[in-house]
Every structure is written in C-alpha cells, then in structure tokens.
C-alpha cells in the first residue's frame, strides 16, 4: 500500500474531529463534526477555513519579471507579461492537442512569478515546467509552506482582525502580509464563489494562524466535501473531472481566461501548445460546451451519468462531469458537456440514473451568484 502524505495541520484536523480520507496522495479532512451540509452553508453565510496545503506552490524567476512571464506564456494561453504587479490571474497548461494539462493561479510578485497548481498534477506540472522552460528560468518548488483558504462574507472581518491591511485588497490582489508574526503571501481569491483569501504561510507557523482564525466565532473548519459542493454551485471546474486533456478551454467555457493579446490578431497571438486548435475554436466555436445542469426531480445526477436528447431512444449526446447536491441551491446540481446546439439554458435533456431517464434542464452558471470584492 502506498504511504499517504500528511498535511502540516494533520494533528489539528484530527483534534477538531475530522474524518480523514485519502486525496491526491494526502490524508485530508473530508468533513468535521458539523458535516458537509452545515460546513457548506456556514461558508456562504459566515466564514470557512480550508486546509489546501496539498496543492503545489512554485516560484519562477528570470532575469526580470518579463523574462519569467514570457517564458511561462509559452505554456499558458494567458497574458502573463501584462499582468500588473501584485495581481493574480487564472491560467491553464495546454497540450499539443489543445487539451488541458492542469488549471492554476499565477501571480506577478515583482521579482518572481508565484504559481499554485493542483495537488494531483503537481509532479507532472513541475516536470512540464522543467522540460519546457528555458534554462535561465529557475523553478523553485516550495515545500515548507502550508496553504489555507478563508472564504465567506465574514472573511474580511476575521482576517482584518489579524492585520487590517487585508481589507484594502480587491479580488485577485496579492500581498505579503504579516499574520500572527508569520510572513504570509495572501491573495484575495478562492474556489467557492464567495469573497475570501488564500494564504500561503510558513509550515511551522500554520497551526498558530489556523487556531487564531478558528478562535473567531464566525470561522469554522471546512473539509473537502463542502469544498466540492461550494465550487460546484459556483460553476468552477475541478481538474480531472470537468476539464482534462480531452477538453479544450473553448469547450470548457474558459475563453474569458484567454486575453485578446494571445488570440488571433493579438500582439502575442498563439505561441502555446495546441494554439492552432484553440485559436480556431475561438474564431469558429467548439462543437460541444460545458454547461450547468439542473435535474428537475430530487435525484442527484453524478459524474458519469449519460445525457440524452429524448425520453426514449437515441444515443447519448453528452455526459455529466461533476454532480451532486447543492445545499445553497437546495437541490441537485451538475455540470457536463453537451453539443453546442443543445447548450442554451432551458434546453430539456434526460439523464440516465439507475436505468431510468430523468428530465434535466441546461442551466446558466454559476448556480449561486458570485460575491467577489471587485
């Protein structure tokens, strides 16, 4: 049996009564005593603290920011060179077929680029960077920092109690902030659709920071179960499920992340893997689309459910890539891929659940409106 890694805050999670499960090679809290439903609802009404230390944190350095940014642009179809100082942006690694290798956050930190990648893809992403970036770009894998996320409408007040400077941050700002004496790298961003912060903290100081935040009445610890239901309601992709090497960013509805400068006619058009396919799809449209799905009944439609255009007969037209119950929506929600001509919100389709075809409507994303501090 492969040994699982432990998070820096493993002891704290167990002390808080977490149910631990294996995820991406780590033992992680899937829920605490409150349970997935309460943890989810609390995050949308107050504040939730998530341990996401399993994710990969990487620093790229070149002769200057522009050198590192332009180098990373050869792998990511995003305007990285034009990203403002202490600003963060969402990005993806693409492959030669125009598929997605991983999704990530990247930030301009002046003398370096700070990149956060998914845990499951960490090793492959680092190998990808090492294999493809020019030798002058140094790649530093950060192994001694934990990563916490504080999300929800009460996040600003809770974190500002530790350092009032965080209240001045807008959505996607990044700053180095002293929190409980620890030098933290903080971004105003997250994976829930709520206002909040993601905090990189030196591992030895993570527990004190976590306990300090949890001491705030409005903050509860939140596990992976609620993290998943929150991001699903927010219409956010989960790599390996809603996006993977078989989906292009255009199919996935992520064109907003590809700034004009990297598209046909832009000053730095193309120049990333799969550009031919992706730029063509940007111009002409893709044959299928990721959509939101709202089953009409109460039965959840989960990943793998086949979608049909009719109540009887015909071949599947699409499938569910993420699905479950949305506690804030109060009913089942899902995302999946359907042909572009069946992707308009309101389109009625049928999902096959336990051998029966049940009605499901295409729905606009997100299911719950976002609350970013813009």
């Amino acid at each position: 049996m492969t040994d699982l890694n432990s998070l820096p805050l493993d002891g704290l999670h167990r002390e808080l009564g977490a149910k631990m499960v294996p995820f991406a090679g780590y033992e992680m809290p899937v829920q605490y005593a409150a349970g997935v439903m309460q943890e989810h609802l609390h995050t949308r009404s107050a504040a939730g603290l998530f341990d996401v230390s399993h994710m990969g944190q990487v620093i790229l350095r070149g002769a200057d920011y522009a050198a590192a940014a332009l180098a990373l642009e050869t792998l990511v179809p995003v305007n990285i060179a034009g990203l403002g100082l202490n600003r963060q942006r969402y990005g993806i690694f693409t492959n030669d077929q125009g598929g997605i290798l991983d999704d990530l956050m990247l930030a301009n930190r002046g003398d370096h680029l700070f990149v956060v990648v998914n845990a499951a893809c960490k090793d492959a992403d680092i190998a990808h960077l090492r294999a493809n970036l020019p030798a002058e770009i140094t790649i530093e894998v950060i192994e001694d920092r934990a990563l916490l996320a504080l999300q929800g409408p009460a996040s600003e007040a809770a974190l500002a109690r530790l350092n009032p400077a965080v209240a001045d941050m807008k959505f996607m700002d990044v700053a180095t902030v002293d929190l409980c004496g620890a030098q933290c790298w903080v971004s105003r961003s997250g994976y829930t659709g709520e206002d909040g912060y993601e905090i990189s903290v030196p591992a030895p100081q993570a527990e004190e920071l976590a306990r300090m935040l949890l001491a705030d009445d409005s903050v509860m610890p939140i596990g992976l179960g609620a993290r998943d239901s929150l991001r699903l309601e927010g219409g956010l992709c989960l790599y390996g499920h809603d996006i993977d090497t078989g989906t292009t960013p255009v199919e996935a509805g992520l064109t907003w992340a590809i700034q004009k400068i990297r598209r046909t006619g832009g000053a730095r058009a193309g120049g990333f893997p799969g550009a031919d396919r992706i730029l063509t799809e940007l111009d002409k449209g893709a044959l299928r689309s990721r959509v939101g799905l709202r089953p009409e009944g109460r039965a959840p439609m989960r990943e793998g459910v086949q979608l049909f255009a009719d109540a009887d007969g015909g071949d599947p037209v699409g499938h569910v890539t993420s699905g479950g119950f949305g506690p804030s929506v109060g009913g089942p929600v899902a995302m999946g891929y359907v042909p572009a001509d069946l992707s308009a919100p309101g389109t009625l389709l049928y999902g096959e659940v336990r051998g029966k075809r049940l009605p499901v409507q295409v729905a606009a994303l997100p299911f719950i409106p976002a609350n970013f501090k813009r």
């Binding site: 439903m37 998943d228 959840p300 336990r354």
Partner: protein, 120 residues
C-alpha cells in the same frame, strides 16, 4: 423488540409486518441525507435485493431487503424531507414495511447488544 442486520438496518415487528429503517450509526456514517427513493408498494423482494436508495451530498448508497417478502407500505415523508433520516433514524425515519412469510426468520438477526458489539 428490535433486531439488527449486518448492513446496519433495524427491523421492528408491527403486527404481521416488519418495519425497516437504518441505524443511527449508518445515518451518521452517511452524513446529511439529501435524497431517498422508496420502492413501489406491492413489490415482491428477495433478501439482498436493492430496495431503496439513500443519497448524501457526496455519495449514493442503498438499502437491501433483509428478507424475502412484499413491500406493503413506504414512508413518503422521507421523499420530501430526506433530512429526517439524520434527525430520527430509529423512529420517524422508517423506510418501508414488509409482509414476510416466516416471522421466525427474524431470530437469525442481531440483538441490540450484538449490534453494538459489531459497531464497536
């Protein structure tokens, strides 16, 4: 008198019927229940047949028939309020009632003490 199955169901005799539900232990393990699908009244079942579906936020699970018999009543309240399974799994959140051929078959199941030993 309540009997328990290894699949964490409880069985209670009510006249010539057997009422079936899931135990507190099972409902805690499942987490917040968000969906229940009950069998049709009149369904003839064999022991081990999947007879009802319970879903939590994260996963789908099912209840199997403990014995051969016929489903004669189902608890419709669980369809509108699946959360009842977490609130009162041993009482209000019974799933279905069945008519079985031989009541003595219940002797084979666990007593409360034996079940408590099982769940430790």
């Amino acid at each position: 008198m309540i009997k328990y199955t290894e699949e964490h169901e409880w069985l209670r005799v009510d006249g010539d019927l057997v009422i079936v539900g899931i135990t507190e232990h099972a409902s805690t393990q499942l987490g917040d229940v968000v969906f229940v699908e009950l069998p049709e009244i009149g369904t003839i079942v064999a022991a081990g047949d999947e007879v009802a579906v319970i879903e939590s936020v994260k996963a789908a699970s099912d209840i199997s028939a403990p014995l051969d018999g016929e489903i004669v009543e189902v608890n419709e309240a669980l369809v509108d309020e699946p959360g009842k399974v977490n609130q009162d799994p041993m009482g209000e959140a019974w799933f279905f009632k069945m008519k079985i051929d031989d009541m003595s078959a219940l002797d084979a199941f666990m007593t409360e003490d034996a079940y408590n030993d099982l769940i430790g």
